[in-house]
Amino acid sequence: MATFAKLDSLRKQYSPPDGPYAVGPKEGVNLEILEGEIFSLLGPNGAGKTTIISMMSGLLTPTAGDVVLGGFSITKQPLDVKKQIGVVPQDLALYPNLSARQNLNLFGTLYGLSGKNLSKRTDEVLEFIDLKDRANDKISEYSGGMKRRVNIGVGLMHRPKMLFLDEPTVAIDPQSRRNILDTVKELNQQGMTVLYTTHYMEEAQELSNRIGIIDHGQIIALGTLDELVKTVGEYDVIRLTLPEPPALVVERLGAIPNIQRAETTDGEVRLIARDGRQQLPEAIRIINEAGLALHGIEIQEPNLEAVFLQLTGRALRD
């Protein structure tokens, strides 16, 4: 597959007083997104996902490096790049006092559509996001899921070759999330290249052809789901539901041979273990000895969560 977007030594240094924070290592982020794929950037809050999308869409000027997208450089030919991309921001970037139709018309005009083309395309998009009957209601009267769908619809008005979706499923109900994930798949089947950011590993797992894991402004792992999971190899994650375990106990758990790491998060202790089942009796013995009540045990096959945990020592949902 051909490369559609190429991040070339891309770097953003936020300057004081907003706080010195760099997205991208010293040498910058290098990344290629292939034509027709769904590429996910998976990372926790503050990892730098929005910063990267903003640089790719011409909102933020990179401190260093460049993005070449569809053959054009975002720093040198921004308008040519922008014609090819649709951006769905993390926030609901809509005018709440205008209707869905008015929002679509406004942004459609800004994307360069006019007259019959514009009204026809607005109808198509309304159909696609399944909001035809509510098209003339104000956005402020919509449910969260409906707003999210309009937010996506706006980014589709000019039939972009590539769509950026920045955490499009934050704070919505499971049904609406399902709907959005299906929408993304459908768009991709129609040939659209998608850059999808999320901090839900399930979404990245379900959608992506390839995944980049990002943390503290750096891409720490990159590959298909299988490739990434292989990096944790035969490691399993053992999740022990254990409210407020003493630090000493966690330390002893981590010291068991073949347990690589022990972490506490959200009332549970996670052990990254080679051959998890074999290590379980010893772990339970330590917990019993300490006189603690074990509320639950779960052993997880390797997944992205485990990859992230192994790479960073933290859970994704911190």
Partner: protein, 425 residues
């Protein structure tokens, strides 16, 4: 294409400004109500709902002419002072005057509303072909409705004497026609004039020479003052909403989203500025019309709240809205976020309105009077009152227009610079 995009952004703003019910209530109902209330409380001028009789003085220096039985001057004295017809007695409270200087002072002080001076040889001049007489009328423009009524009665009488043939057929103002009919002296004069009509027909023998006396204690017509004052103040409030919407757009990411479309960034700010300006013009126009309407309904008079010089009104309107839009943008451009922008704007704009005389005239207050010259409110308000209250014309308001446009240029430059600095990424 660029222009279409600018229009689309401007339209979104204008549409939202005029479909937001609470904003509408604040932007339109409150200035209307406030100016009416302040106007009524201030008294003076045309807001006396019960029309009092006008205090009219007649100074008759006319000794008549051997050719006429009765001097024309006596006709005015009789109708206005000695034997006013019943229909007039509600409107006119007449007295004869002997000391012209004193009477003119009384007009200045408001003790007398109208003074009619019939000069010497008035009758003789009137009946002399090609000569004609001049009746001098002094009045206080602040006298309001009673003064207006008295003047129109005198005008009517004069017209009637001038053109009795036509006058009796088409009917000039009702009261004076009755007055003329009911009074034998007038009938006599009319009869004479008819006889002399061959000479009089082609030209008006009597001219009215009106002198308005502006006394020291001259009262302003309250609505002509507070109407524009409030309209300008609330226009600036409305425009600050528009300017702050830039900060709201930034917070909601609609601004950033617009920047991801293939449009130069100037399209966004351009659209906002056009939207804000047009909103301001609409807001002012609607308030102007509403105030004219309210003045008629509430005060029952056809006060020209904004004057009658259409070109002048348009010039002041266009320039005061430009200055207001620029000012609102400057405030917003320095605010941290929409909430801070909202409170700072309210404060700054209210102070500017206060200094500019929206709530009270400040011209004569020592320091405030000078400070007020720094506000767009004062220059706009002065522009409107020059046109309405002072009967000025385009030439008289050009300085105001120039100052306001100058302010607009400075404000827009600062705002563009500051927003440009903020949005650099």
């Amino acid at each position: 294409m660029i222009w279409r995009k600018i229009q689309a952004i401007a339209w979104a703003d204008i549409y939202q400004a005029f479909t937001d019910r609470s904003a509408l209530l604040f932007n339109f109902a409150s200035p209307l109500a406030i100016s009416m209330i302040i106007g009524a409380a201030f008294g003076g001028g045309s807001n006396d709902v019960d029309v009092e009789a006008a205090k009219v003085g007649v100074l008759n220096l006319d000794t008549g002419s051997t050719q006429v039985e009765q001097a024309f001057g006596d006709i005015y004295t009789q109708v206005l002072v000695e034997a006013p017809p019943e229909e007039l007695s509600d409107f006119i409270d007449g007295k004869t005057i002997t000391d012209e200087k004193k009477a003119r002072r009384q007009i200045g002080d408001g003790d007398l509303d109208v003074l009619v001076v019939v000069p010497e040889d008035f009758t003789a001049n009137v009946i002399t072909p090609d000569k004609g007489g001049t009746l001098r009328i002094y009045y206080n423009p602040g006298a309001g409705i009673p003064g207006d009524v008295a003047r129109s009665i005198i005008d009517g009488m004069t017209t009637q004497l001038n053109n009795q043939n036509i006058a009796l057929q088409v009917g000039i103002p009702y009261a004076s026609e009755q007055a003329a009919r009911n009074n034998q002296a007038v009938d006599a004069a009319v009869a004479y004039v008819r006889q002399a009509s061959q000479q009089l027909r082609e030209k008006e023998a009597i001219t009215l020479n009106r002198v308005s006396i502006e006394g020291d204690v001259q009262e302003f017509n309250s609505l002509q003052y507070f109407g524009p004052g409030m309209a300008i103040l609330f226009m600036t409030y409305a425009l600050s909403n528009g300017a702050i919407s830039i900060l709201v757009d930034q917070r909601n990411w609609t601004m950033q989203r617009i920047w991801t479309t293939p449009s130069p960034r100037t399209v966004y700010l351009g659209g906002k500025m056009v939207g804000i300006y047009v909103t301001g013009i609409f807001q002012m126009l609607i308030l102007m019309l509403a105030m004219i309407f309210a003045a008629n309904v509430v005060f029952g008079s056809g006060v020209a709240v904004w004057g009658t010089d259409a070109i002048g009104i348009v010039l002041v309107l266009a320039s005061v809205v430009a200055a207001g839009a620029g000012f609102a943008l400057v405030i917003a451009s320095f605010a941290k976020n929409p909430d801070q922008g909202g409170s700072i704007s309210t404060l700054v704009l209210t102070v500017s309105g206060l200094l500019g005389g929206a709530f009270l005239p400040v011209d004569d207050v020592p320091i405030l009077g000078q400070l007020s010259k720094l506000t767009l409110n004062r220059w706009g308000l002065d522009g409107f009152t020059t046109l309405s209250f002072d009967g000025g014309t385009v030439m008289d308001i050009l300085p105001n227009v120039a100052v306001l446009l100058g302010m607009a240029v400075v404000f827009f430059t600062i705002a563009l610079f500051q927003f440009g600095r903020r949005f650099r990424s």
